[in-house]
């Protein structure tokens, strides 16, 4: 028999939990839902646009009644739960409806706080919380003229803006001198107020409301100083209070909210709570992003996965008033040890402030230009070291040469503008999918539209579209789960592999309680990499967990044939190798022969069954695999250097060959490219490589973290050194640090941006002992890695089944 789950509260947090639960354990529970409102589930954060007449109620419904029926969920709408009997595990609604539970989920949300002043219960005095309030306001707007909104916070301003759009004269009353003091600093608040006044809102700042006046219904508002203003409608938006009455009555421990632990359980472990009604680690949340995170954790625990903890949220806010761009996140007032980076351009109406502590973003306030809100929020959550781009950080992500953004708000683009160049997805298509399919996360948008599903460079644009369409910022957790098979992040998986000495995929799946029996195409290659890089020579390299290119040591092409790139050390070749390549191309009728960007020769269109024979012929001429297919050392590109070049300062070709001989065959989190240039003219383009050497008269400059490709990034200078031996040591140490700490599929460029150049320097340049240890570990792992995979397979001894069909049926 199925267990019974009862959800009290048909709002966003509770339903999100159910959706997450149904996705991972669809058959675990018989589910009953009680909702006090007479509707299905709707997107409460979109009530402001409904009030402003920009959306209809229908457009903000998330699940209609049919949705519940299809999933076999019993839904009681318009029924408030009044009593819980925990001893019998039963809940009762006002009309006597009873439901018993094995697990109970409280998602009772919050109530608007009504100021305790005379007249606060008069007809025409309301909060701003649900569809009913919006309907009351819309009706009032048709008959009345004057509206007073008490509270100059986020909600109050959105209500005021909506009522003004409905034709009312609106006065916003705020007890303090600045608006939205919890989200804005005084400068931004004043800009906001000026802009809203221009639109026709009136403000009474520093005003203490004394009473609401009226007989049959509200007529006016009186302040402590005696001033009276007319009012046909009064909206109180001074704050929310977690709705904890029911929980308290049932004897569940509450403070300001229902107190929950990291798995969203109350003091009664059979009773869970999520959303605005909870208090977690002393914190109550009134924004949507934390609810998503809580819902996910709660669903996981209900499904008995037992993994995943909620550890609190960093929140960001955006004002949903059309035409006003405002964003705020984190601690924007600063404190001791904090610095402020400010850009202020009154003529353009732009104000940006970042609060920074030890080169890490603590908070942000943006007014007038919020394009980079998501980016700053990401820097904040990930604790990125911004030292390297601090001078330009306020000019935005576009300044970081990200091809995905061009310095304008994506929402100014036309609907037929292409957002995702890889998959040809237009802005209009994305918006349509978001609104029709009720998508809330970038992952969902990716799954449904394919936008940002390939190279990922347009992720920022997709996030912007999502933010503007849904009206909230994404809910990417601080540390992303590795994939859908687990809640654990890349770093947690790798740490566990090291600490628990796990040496096989099976051991990782068991120890870390994977949700799927044998992972998926995302996690298996990642774990396999973490295993072989952590325990070289000890962990089993699982061929079935390798992407096809690494499994058959060639690059799959769109027609199912393969390309073959033999290694040419430092880009050097000779007549014998070239003859062998020509002979192979003739013998196997290879249609295309091309020179690559990394100074190698690519044979394209090789049939899979020919691969071992092609390799045997290339091996015979002394050539080995070029690893052009792997997350591994690719090529070392060189210029001719001092042997021939009249400008050359060192033997760049020779050094390139030495570096390639040392590093070939090593597996890395993502591909790894090197170059050695013989002088600062830099003909080998060393400053866009993962590791680049620029020779100078006095020695060698070492550059790291460069990248051509999707998002071009010039290298950072790591250090200078004097001898080739030192170059090799720094090179090996740098590769090893990246191999040990870079996340799978993270190139050195984003890795260095994440951890900061100063960190890399501290481990490699400033700590000689550590550098030598890293170098030693690198050389040690190379003992197991430097085996030519082509020779093994050409011999027919390894993976022969890969290259032969099972049978031919005629």
């Amino acid at each position: 028999m199925k267990e019974k789950l009862v959800l009290v509260g048909n709002g966003m947090a509770g339903m999100r939990t159910l959706e997450e639960l149904l996705a991972i354990a669809p058959d675990k529970f018989d589910i009953t839902v009680f909702g006090a409102e007479p509707h299905g589930n709707y997107n409460r954060i979109m009530l402001s646009p409904v009030l402003a007449g920009e959306k209809t109620i229908d457009q903000i419904m998330i699940n209609d009644l049919g949705w519940y029926a299809e999933r076999g969920i019993t839904l009681h709408t318009g029924q408030e739960v009044t009593h819980i009997n925990r001893a019998r595990r039963q809940v009762y609604a006002a009309d006597g409806t009873m439901a018993s539970y094995d697990r109970l989920l409280l998602a009772t949300g919050s109530n608007p706080f009504m100021l305790p002043i005379p007249g606060n219960d008069l007809p025409g005095v309301i909060g701003f919380r649900d569809i009913k309030d919006v309907e009351t306001m819309l009706t009032a707007a048709q008959t009345g003229k004057h509206a007073v909104v008490i509270g100059g916070g986020l909600l109050g301003l959105e209500a005021a803006n909506g009522l003004m759009k409905q034709g009312m004269q609106v006065t916003v009353v705020h007890v303090l001198d600045t608006l939205m003091e919890r989200q804005l600093d005084p400068v931004a608040a004043d800009m906001l107020r000026a802009s809203l006044e221009e639109r026709g809102l009136r403000f009474l700042m520093g005003a203490n409301t004394a009473a609401v006046l009226g007989e049959e219904r509200v007529r006016a508002v009186r302040f402590k100083d005696g001033l009276e203003i007319p009012a046909d409608l009064v909206v109180m938006a001074v704050g929310i209070r977690p709705n904890i009455e029911l929980a308290k009555q049932a004897g569940i421990y509450c403070e300001r909210g229902i107190v929950v632990n990291d798995t969203m359980q109350t003091y009664d472990p059979k009773v869970y709570a999520v959303g605005e009604c909870v208090q977690h680690r002393g914190q109550c949340y009134g924004l949507v992003a934390p609810l998503w995170e809580q819902a996910k954790v709660c669903a996981n625990h209900l499904a008995r996965y037992g993994i995943g903890r909620y550890q609190g949220s960093v929140t960001s806010t955006k004002l949903k008033v059309t035409g006003i761009d405002l964003f705020s996140a984190g601690d924007f007032n600063g404190g001791s040890g904090c610095e402020e980076i400010v850009l202020r351009d009154p003529a353009r109406g732009v104000y940006k402030k970042l609060v920074v502590k030890e080169n890490r973003v603590q908070g942000a306030v943006l007014y007038g230009d919020t394009v980079d809100g998501t980016w700053y929020f990401q820097l904040l959550r990930e604790g990125t070291d911004i030292g390297a781009f601090r001078e330009t950080v306020l000019f935005g992500h576009a300044h970081m040469a990200d091809s995905g953004r061009e310095g304008f708000s994506v929402m100014t683009m036309a609907d037929d503008a292409e957002i995702c160049g890889c998959n040809g997805v237009c802005k209009g298509t994305i918006i349509k999918a978001i609104s029709e399919k009720k998508l809330f996360t970038v992952d969902e948008v990716r799954a449904h539209t394919k936008a940002s599903a390939s190279c990922g460079s347009c992720t920022g644009l997709v996030e912007q579209i999502l933010a503007a369409t849904v009206g909230t910022f994404d809910k990417t957790p601080k540390e992303k789960a590795l994939c859908k098979c687990t809640e654990h992040s890349h770093d947690q998986v790798r740490k566990t592999i090291r600490e628990q000495h796990l040496t096989s995929l099976r051991a990782v799946f068991e120890f870390m309680e994977w949700k799927t029996p044998d992972g998926c195409h995302s996690c298996r290659p990642a774990i396999n990499y973490y295993l072989i890089s952590t325990w070289p020579g000890e962990a089993q390299d699982d061929q079935q967990s390798r992407f096809i290119n690494e499994r058959v040591h060639a690059n799959i092409q769109k027609d199912g044939t393969y390309s073959v790139v033999p290694r040419m050390w430092g880009g050097l070749t000779n007549p014998k190798e070239l003859r062998a390549i020509a002979d192979v191309a003739d013998k196997f009728q290879i249609p295309t022969v091309k020179v690559t960007g990394g100074q190698r020769i690519d044979l394209l269109g090789v049939k899979k069954e020919d691969l071992p024979k092609v390799w045997a012929d290339l091996n015979a001429a002394g050539m080995v695999s070029g690893h052009a297919y792997g997350k591994s050392l690719r090529t070392v590109k060189t210029c001719v250097g001092s042997d021939w070049c009249r400008f050359g300062t060192q033997d760049s070709t020779g050094l390139g060959v030495k570096l390639e001989k040392m590093t070939w065959g090593s597996w890395t989190p993502h591909k790894f490219k090197m170059a050695v240039s013989g002088c600062p003219r830099n003909c080998a383009e060393a400053t866009i490589k993962d590791f680049g050497v620029v020779c100078v008269d006095s020695g060698y400059e070492l550059h790291v973290g460069g990248n051509g490709g999707i998002k071009i990034r010039g290298t950072d200078l790591l250090c200078k050194c004097a001898t080739e031996e030192e170059v090799k040591e720094y090179c090996g140490a740098f590769m090893q640090l990246y191999r040990e700490e870079g996340r799978y599929l993270e190139r050195t460029a984003p890795w260095i941006e994440r951890v900061g150049l100063s960190y890399v320097k501290s481990r490699i340049v400033e700590d000689e002992e550590n550098r030598k240890a890293l170098y030693a570990r690198f050389l040690d792992s190379q003992k197991f890695a430097q085996v030519d995979p082509w020779a093994e397979r050409a011999s027919g001894q390894v993976d022969a089944h890969e290259f032969k069909s099972l049978r031919r049926v005629s």
Binding site: D518, I556, G560, H801
Partner: protein, 116 residues
């Protein structure tokens, strides 16, 4: 009606791996899952014709190597939200020997928008 062909032994296919059988109707990919079940699909992804036999097998699913579409091995259907289907063929395991059932008529994929 299916015509049954003996194609080899279970051990000829690695666990979580795949082998190809060449037939007059085109290549058929034979998959072996971790629990030693065997499935057969036409070796063409309904998306852009990628060779499914070269993908990664996980659970009872296969991920196409070209663009990461995921297909159900049992039905050949693409996992939502992608839509498409690879033709499936019956398999039998008898005394360690594998059999593949092929249609007498040429089978056509149900959807193959970009097959060419």
């Amino acid at each position: 009606m299916y015509e049954w062909h003996e194609i080899g032994a279970l051990e000829d296919i690695p666990r979580l791996g795949s082998r190809v059988v060449n037939t007059p109707h085109g290549d058929v990919a034979i998959f072996r899952t971790a629990d030693d079940q065997v499935f057969a699909l036409r070796d063409r992804c309904p998306h852009k014709g990628g060779p499914l036999s070269q993908g990664i097998v996980h659970g009872h699913r296969i991920t196409c190597p070209l663009h990461n579409w995921v297909l159900e091995l049992e039905s050949g259907q693409a996992v939502a939200p992608d839509v498409g289907c690879a033709t499936r063929y019956p398999t039998r395991l008898e005394g360690g020997r594998l059999w593949l059932g092929l249609n007498n008529v040429v089978s056509l994929p149900t959807t193959s928008p970009e097959a060419a």
